[in-house]
Amino acid sequence: MNHFSIKKITKQTEFYVFLIIVALSLLIQFRSGQFFTNNNIVDLMRSMVVPSMYAICAFLAFVSTGPDVSFPLIAALSSYATIVISLNIGYKGPVIWLYVLAGVFGLLMGAFNGFILVKYKFPALIVTLGTSAIFSGVLFGVLKARRMELPSTMLEFGKSSILTVKNADSGLGSQLPSTILILVGLYIVTYLVLNYTIVGRGVYAIGGDEVSAERAGFNVKMIRFGVFCANGVVASIAGMTYSSMTQFALPNEFSGAEMTVIAAIILGGTRITGGVGTLKGTLLGTFLIVMVANSLILLGIPVYWQRVFTGLIIIVGTAISVRKSSGSVKKSLKAEVTSK
């Protein structure tokens, strides 16, 4: 009996990502002795917050439709607009309403993506590239975005922490920000919706085979539209969280995140042709990428090697996950990819 479950586990991409993470962390621990220290773990969790939120966007888009590359700019534009508005009206209330306002902006931008994708069925990559150019034009051209101070409520929220640790040996301290609670909340909600609701199953169904999903009674258009609206909201939450955590509005720092995040979720086993993927894998993939980025210094590797490693991890990871899929899947995958 046990034999079967082990076999099942070893078939999952998540398992291999987990193994790589364990091996790498042991290597880093062995080389530097600094990996399994309380402040490093807390630092890693801190660095995980925003990328993991983005990862939800990339994950939902891939499972249901295809690559979405617009989420960093949705995050930038919605959070920047919110910050500007709240500074102008001198808002002093609780931070939650700022999140709600940003969420509304994000929802509108996500709906714009969703509308074009549902109505015209263009490739998601091209459409979201176009909309992110539009969002970036609005952000830097119309709003003339630049580095800016935050409203006081966001500053306080970003500084607040739920846990403070101090490494007894090195004297380095680290704080676990309260924003991680938002992340946990987002993952729980996404998990429940994806796995315990009809709509959630529909997200997988329309990505796996649109025609069959439609025949099975799923409202393909509404689900796809809904996914991109949700993506907009999640992206705006990520944007607000990022600004709070960096203690500044930094509109220039957002773009570029999409590539590593997409890499992370593909590593985590999300299939590029849609319909397959888990949140567990998404988190593990993100953790792997964040860990590599954060730990190269601990290994004594110069920071500028970071991109080489990220690139290699993407290439090797995707090659393995493509290889792993069984022969028939591989063939249809190839046909689909080349025909897409």
Partner: protein, 347 residues
């Protein structure tokens, strides 16, 4: 008409395509319209020799990279790594020239070293392209992901090679030749661009290899059964894309007299925009290099017109590009849908 299931309609758009000419005519008319508007709005600045010269000079680099994206897209893939292949070639060629050109050497010796440096740059482009091609063809990694990975990798390697610095002050005759203007007016880079455009157009429309690229892009399975070696075709396509990118990198090295690992990262987006504007189907199999070349010119003319208005921030360009990209997609969609409707009525 809306009762027709959506999936069938998309299948039909694939089958029934606009004749290639109509797209090119449309692009050409757009270009003429923009030029007329520009001359009316800026009668003194726009038609000036210096402006036309700068238009010719500026479009070359991303134009070449757009060709690279274009042929990969026609073959059913995409190349997101073009910019970083270009930068890597520029950096290596720059370092080579800085190391091996001594100011005391004679001109012919300096010329030789520059030539070798250029060959090395192009060789690097070819190797990077072959690497992309192997990942796509032999490892079956979706082109978007493969080149997403190699884009990080190539950029990373460039950062490591250059130590994260800008390679500048290239010695020898390289920059002089690169910035030479024929008749004191036409930049040599533009001439190279035109020659490459013509060669590629001929290659895509008149050679066996070109036809094979279209076939592989339209339907990889049937092209395989038609006896085409898909893998070899794809590797050659990506190699060609790499070579085109590296030429762009060398021209950029000559123009700005420096190279850096993260130069022009926005060109990736511009490249895709141009290719789609030029009428290449993002799903592969359709499109022409003439269309892409025209789209390059349209974009550069529009962009230099925008530059003449001091109060329009550069960032508005992003906005306009984005709207243009989606607008053109929708326009093409509506036109081909109209054709389908006409055909249905006939039947």
């Amino acid at each position: 008409m809306n009762k027709m299931p959506a999936d069938i309609s998309t299948n039909k758009t694939k089958l029934i395509r606009l004749p290639k000419d109509s797209n090119i005519t449309r692009l050409f008319l757009t270009l003429v319209a923009i030029v007329i508007v520009a001359i009316v709005l800026k009668p003194h600045n726009f038609p000036s020799t210096s402006n036309i010269e700068s238009i010719m000079k500026q479009l070359v680099e991303y134009g070449l990279m757009a060709f690279a994206v274009g042929i990969t897209m026609i073959s059913g893939g995409i190349d997101l790594s073009t910019v970083y292949i270009a930068n890597m070639s520029g950096i290596v060629a720059g370092i080579y020239m800085r190391t091996f050109i001594s100011p005391e050497a004679s001109l012919s010796e300096q010329l030789m070293v520059s030539l070798v440096a250029m060959l090395i740059g192009i060789l690097i482009g070819a190797l990077c392209g072959i690497f992309n091609g192997i990942l796509v063809a032999h490892f079956n990694i979706p082109a978007m992901l493969a080149t997403l990975g190699t884009f990080q990798l190539f950029m990373g390697i460039s950062v490591v090679i250059s130590g994260g610095t800008t390679i500048s002050r290239i010695p020898g005759p390289f920059t002089t030749i690169g910035n030479y203007r024929i008749f004191g007016f036409v930049p040599i880079a533009f001439v190279i661009f035109i020659i490459i455009a013509i060669l590629l157009s001929v290659m895509m429309s008149r050679t066996k290899f070109g036809t094979r690229i279209y076939l592989v892009g339209t339907n990889a399975k049937s092209s395989k059964f038609a006896g085409i070696n898909n893998k070899a075709v794809l590797i050659k396509v990506y190699m060609l894309a790499g070579i085109l990118s590296s030429i762009a990198g060398l021209i950029s090295l000559a123009r700005v007299n420096s190279a850096k690992a993260d130069f022009g990262s926005s060109y990736t987006m511009t490249g895709i925009l141009i290719v789609v504007l030029g009428g290449v189907n993002p799903n592969g199999g359709f499109g022409s290099m003439t269309g892409v070349a025209l789209a390059v010119v349209v974009l550069q003319v529009l962009s230099s017109l925008l530059n003449m208005f001091q109060n329009i921030s550069n960032y508005y360009r992003d906005l306009i590009w984005g709207v243009a990209l989606i607008g053109v997609l929708i326009l093409n969609y509506m036109i081909s849908n109209g054709k389908i409707r006409k055909l249905k009525k006939k039947n």
